[in-house]
């Protein structure tokens, strides 16, 4: 295995480690040494792959976005957009233990980055969330529902809200309860009662 390959493996290990540790400990409480240790890379070496700590944060964000892309790609195996959306909700509920411990990786990262004075990285966290919004809107649009963007907003908003509460209350059942409601909502959408959002009526 030549240098080039080993190097890109190390980069990948560092990226994955950054995603894990930053999710668990938050950006500000994570040191480069933490990430290096988790990746099994000597601390001084990190700078050959990432010039600054912020670049590691960026890499973690792209890792989360990649996970998201994998998930949506898998969901697209279903032909029915409604099934895709329900699959998304089920995937969220499956992650309930992680959510209760650390919240949504992207959402909590967005919160931390939003506190920065210089608005550099927070835009990138927002972009990952917008990516999810866009995907959800596309599904709602495929269902020929009105205001698909608003429906997407409602869905993703509910996800971020339930993740935050599960985390703040350290209670994974928050995910289960809200998840069940979202599934009912998705099933009812476009039915006789009109498309007014979750729990409409």
């Amino acid at each position: 295995m030549d240098r080039r390959v080993r190097a890109s493996q190390k980069r990948r290990r560092l990226t994955a480690a950054a995603a894990r540790v930053l999710h668990g400990q938050g950006v500000e409480r994570t040191t480069l040494a933490d990430i290096a240790r988790e990746a099994g890379v000597p601390a001084g070496n990190v700078y050959y792959y990432f010039k600054t700590k912020d670049e590691l944060v960026r890499a973690a964000l792209s890792e989360h976005r990649a996970h998201l892309d994998e998930l949506t790609a898998a969901l697209e195996e279903s032909a029915d957009p409604r099934d895709r959306l329900k699959g998304l909700v089920k995937a969220w509920v499956d992650q309930r233990e992680t959510a209760a411990r650390h919240g949504c990786p992207t959402g909590t990262l967005a919160v931390e980055l939003g506190k920065r004075a210089d608005g550099t990285l927070d835009a990138e966290a927002g972009a990952v969330i917008r990516h999810l919004l866009d995907w959800a809107a596309a599904q709602f649009r495929a269902l020929a529902l009105p205001a698909p963007d608003d429906l997407a907003l409602t869905l993703v908003s509910a996800y971020q809200g339930m993740s935050l509460l599960a985390n703040a209350l350290r209670d994974p059942t928050v995910m289960t309860r809200e998840g069940a409601r979202l599934l009912r909502w998705l099933d009812a959408l476009g039915g006789p009662d009109g498309p007014d959002g979750p729990g409409a009526r």
Copy 2:
């Protein structure tokens, strides 16, 4: 005005400054000097009132809880619990600019504190959120709706979700759009279609 009075004023000034600055910059990026400056107090003096930085965070949390109590007290001037809840949603929407800039004070604090290994303060952030849940549940119960706790969870979860998204996307209209939906939902709740709760159909 004697020493005693001035002193407790200073304590209050510090608490208010802590709440403001911690909301704006986050816990980890805020130094004691930041809070002292905002309060107009010499840095060394802060420790006369708060023995550690964590105590300032605690004070900020209690400040947020006090704000919440003020708000709910004002809402209780309405006799109708439904109006109270709608008033709550309107208050959230009124704060849309702040939410877009910094998110929900308590929610973002909970996210940051949740990243700590030592789980002391995050419980207190969770308690403030639970306080809001309890108040909302009481209103739903007064409306004789079934599963008032779940309804409260849905409502507060929606608030945290829309605040997080408004903040991550730097877009206050998220608050407006989701707020409008929540108002329609509250109006419809317990309506002609039976008391099935949110997401019914």
Copy 3:
């Protein structure tokens, strides 16, 4: 009770508290607040009785010297100087638990003060020890023993040594064992074997 009396009581309380706390925690690890608390005096008030922390240390030293004077006065009720010296040793052994916990009050104070660059207070600690040396020498002289100053040095040195070891090893039996030896030595002194010091032959 008039002000004057109350004031001097407070001064005495502070002095006693200083002696106690400085012995237990050492000079450098003791704050004025510690002493004020122990004395039941408000912190800001201490400065009316002692202008600096060093003056409190000085007061503690004089307290220890006063204790020493009380002890020697009591010992002088014995007519026989040898009994007086043996009484002194017995008093030391009686304090074995304190010695194991905190060492000799004056000795440990002298060690700490000896570390100061400016040789101000260490001389005063030395003076208390010299006072004990002088008293012991007087007893040896009264016994018509040769080189009473050396005998005193041996005795006091043994005391400081056994206190330090009892403290360092956290073992009060050091006091018991060495104390027993010193008693045998005092008994033997001036006997047929000559006055060559403790354990001579």
Copy 4:
């Protein structure tokens, strides 16, 4: 000379500097900057080698113990245990100027560390002293004297006592006088009067 070698040299320089400065100024009055300056190392760099100040204290203690081991190793060139013990006493007397200025390095360290509430490091100071006790006891045992542990206690105790007094009185002749007595005592031990040990009779 490569990095690795220079680094361990620096560590050694820091350890030696810590031993020197802590002996001279005491633990509490010594700052990390003092030690860094003495070692010719930038202050921020100290933490690369020692994570806390306490670790520097620990290193200083091990340095003192190493000195002690060197000394006893040299003494063991004498075949006669009595000569070894007399050599020890002579070494102490040779250090009289240092003792008068700063006391025994290990003894004064033990005193300071004994004042701490948290009893972690003081045990290590005690261990160094116990190490000396053990060595001395082994010599007395080799001389077939009864109660060698008590004899060792007497000897080491005398050393700590005379060091403390020399320091407190700023008088190196204390070491000379007590040292001479100890030499006579060692010579007489186990002599014509029977093996009753120190204080016999």
